[in-house]
Symmetry: D2
Subunit: 255 residues, 4 copies
């Protein structure tokens, strides 16, 4: 069976500038995520980062990606619009997209959602419990009733997103909030999954259940087909039209 081609993208800034982050993820979060899902098998995993030429997302790289995993936070604004457009075009053609944690505010996610994607937040290392609402969904395979994370940044509702096609996880937070932590949407021919866990100074991506969900999601988001967009003029009708004894001014953009 052909291996799924996954690219893990990370802005890779915190891990080079913040001491805690550097200690936790010396080679970057993308490396830990990529290693984690590689070990679970069936995938060829690449990584790409902001500082590479074209952010590592050249036309060739994108064409060779079945599913793209996205982590960004402090440098959303530095991602070039043309690269965002390229990724968006590919998602609409069929590429899968997994957006993690602070990626909720990335250009690519906001552009696919059409909303602000804002939320409440607090950094207090509090406990989170992600309840599995859909135990029969491929994304939760092998995950039990919930995932418990001892120390997380809190994200709280209202999360400004379009109603998800499927709501997979809802989080409970020690401090009193709730959050839609796992959501799916179809956009064009591509599948999008937002997954809340992940942070630059909490060891979230060393959690095996978190990695398992990302791995499951990559398999779920694998393209069924890749299909280019078009908006064709179908001048010949399938059915014969009745004679039109009316004289409309010529329409269209010519005068």
């Amino acid at each position: 069976m052909k291996k799924l081609k996954v690219t893990v993208w990370n802005e890779f800034i915190h891990e080079r500038k913040n001491e805690g982050s550097k200690k936790l993820y010396p080679a970057g979060m993308h490396k830990v995520i990529a290693d984690g899902i590689s070990k679970l098998g069936g995938m060829e995993v690449q990584t790409a980062t902001l500082d590479e030429p074209e952010h590592g997302l050249t036309e060739t790289a994108v064409q060779n990606t079945d599913v793209l995993v996205w982590w960004g936070h402090r440098a959303h604004g530095e991602v070039k619009d043309e690269i965002v457009e390229r990724v968006k075009k590919r998602v609409l053609e069929g590429m899968g997209l997994i957006v993690l944690h602070s990626g909720h505010y990335s250009k690519i996610f906001k552009s696919l959602m059409g909303t602000n994607c804002s939320l409440k937040w607090r950094e207090a290392a509090e406990k989170e419990r992600l309840w599995n609402l859909e135990p029969s969904h491929p994304i939760t395979e092998g995950i039990g009733e919930y995932i418990e994370l001892p120390n997380t940044e809190m994200y709280g509702e209202r999360f400004d997103i379009p109603t998800p096609d499927e709501l997979i996880f809802v989080s409970w937070f020690e401090g009193g909030e709730v959050f839609r932590s796992g959501c799916t949407w179809r956009r064009g021919h591509g599948k999008v999954f937002y997954f809340r866990p992940g942070h630059e100074t909490y060891p979230i991506f060393y959690n095996s259940q978190v990695i398992r969900v990302i791995w499951n999601a990559c398999k779920w988001a694998a393209p069924q087909i890749i299909m280019a967009d078009k908006c064709p003029n179908i001048s010949n009708s399938l059915e014969k039209l009745s004679p039109k004894n009316v004289d409309f001014g010529k329409a269209g953009i010519q005068q």
Copy 2:
């Protein structure tokens, strides 16, 4: 009761450059739409066009609009990005948006949908019948089983949109195609309705059922509230947090 403030926006180009269009809509389609919904009552209707300063959509104008109706076709690219952003911000805050016909390819609609919004099309003056799938929806009040339009431009599936929250109309075309002709979505606090009918050289906006649907839709899309976007840091939790005997590196964007 306070009147609903509706603004009908039109690029207003065909009606000044195309003879057939000029004859049909000498003062522009926006004038016919505005007059039509005004007569049905309960609304203060303004119009705005592309060639006005800021396309007639100044900050004040947008603040004074409950529901915006949008018609555009050949000049989508000429609508300034900053005006699109202003309108989008206001929709997400709660303003209603009714997108007509070729507006499917407008910047504002594509930006709120996150997809290509492409479709099949044919200009052959063919018959269309819009079937009313939701006779108990406010948008179809007073409309019977279907609307029949003798001469229309055909739009056919696949229409590249996110799954509508509600599918109100589906069109049958003489030439053999079908189309999701009336669709609703919530985006932020605003309601969006796409309605297919409307064309620069067919007399669609003189059809009383079409006008009735637009009027109904304006009432349906009236803002429940207007609420500014925010992404607040909630530093104090509602519930007391347990002591955190861990030392995470300081997170966030400072080093």
Copy 3:
């Protein structure tokens, strides 16, 4: 303006047999709910209970109800199937239905959902906080960011329901669970709202925010139209059919 006709139905058993419940709701929960929403205005509120003839839901009573509010718990099985069918028929024709708390397991709710409607539960008087996910929805008018209830029975996910059309409230529980506490669905021409709060020995229905949500929901669920079901044979087509030079055996149920 015509007043909305609301009927509050209660099995009315706990309040006559359980001391705590009797003390809290001496005239029954239906009385407290009915009084509460009456005071907010615009409604003619009736009540009906299990022990009345036809459970108080005669054909006439149902015909004279715009929105039915339902509370049941220990006697779901005693509600006659023919009455459930009558109520269901009326919901599908356009009557609104608000299902409260333990009504999740009522025949009428299960029958409209098509699923088990099961959940986790615990009676430990714990704190619940219902987060308002849709501040621009009519059901949450006048409700702030959340409703806090100091002592409640816990309901936890997975709640076995079809994906709600709209998810209005999500609950946080002191004991660590979450729950989809406010959900809407369209069924036929009727609107259904499930709202979690309410219990026979906690004073939930004396909470003004809970009553406000029920009142809001009644207004939201008001019928747009009442339309009888039919499955008509349309022997004459709208479009002329081409000659059929084939000989199919006569179909249908006759031999």
Copy 4:
């Protein structure tokens, strides 16, 4: 790889009583469907009919079915309620269900939808074109832009169903109607697909595209897990509850 266990159920009455139907489907429609999908591979296909003991759907048979395909028409009322309950229970546990054509009015489909499932209809051997709205969905794999059927019974909107999770096909009919011909819903842990084509005297089930869609749908509806329903009392909370210095009357069903 383990083969998918599919059971094709047919009431098998027309094909024994109606001359045209007998000639077209001498061994019953179930036989033609079963042979068709068997040839496409990867499945162990059984059949079951109304006149078998327990309609061929014994507890063992249902336990040994991954996906059930359903065709019924004139004898919906003869299907025993206890068998319907057994099938429904299994769908909610995870079994897939494909409902064909006149099965829209079957007890099992109506029970899972919660609505009337009524529609318009006409038997005039007219042309139908099913437009493929989701070319990237597994159910439409190998199907092009549309399926054309030269002679069909017409089904027209309004189809009284809950909003589908996914709308896969929309039909165009020669006589002027449209119909949502391919719809998916999740119910419990099971997936349901309604597919319009199929009739007792038109040779629909000899059409290779129709068979391909049924085969695709069986693969799509394969259970991810099988999970029994429960509604558990979780007496111990995950989080420690604060002391409750209140005295509520004992709740629950005891007095």
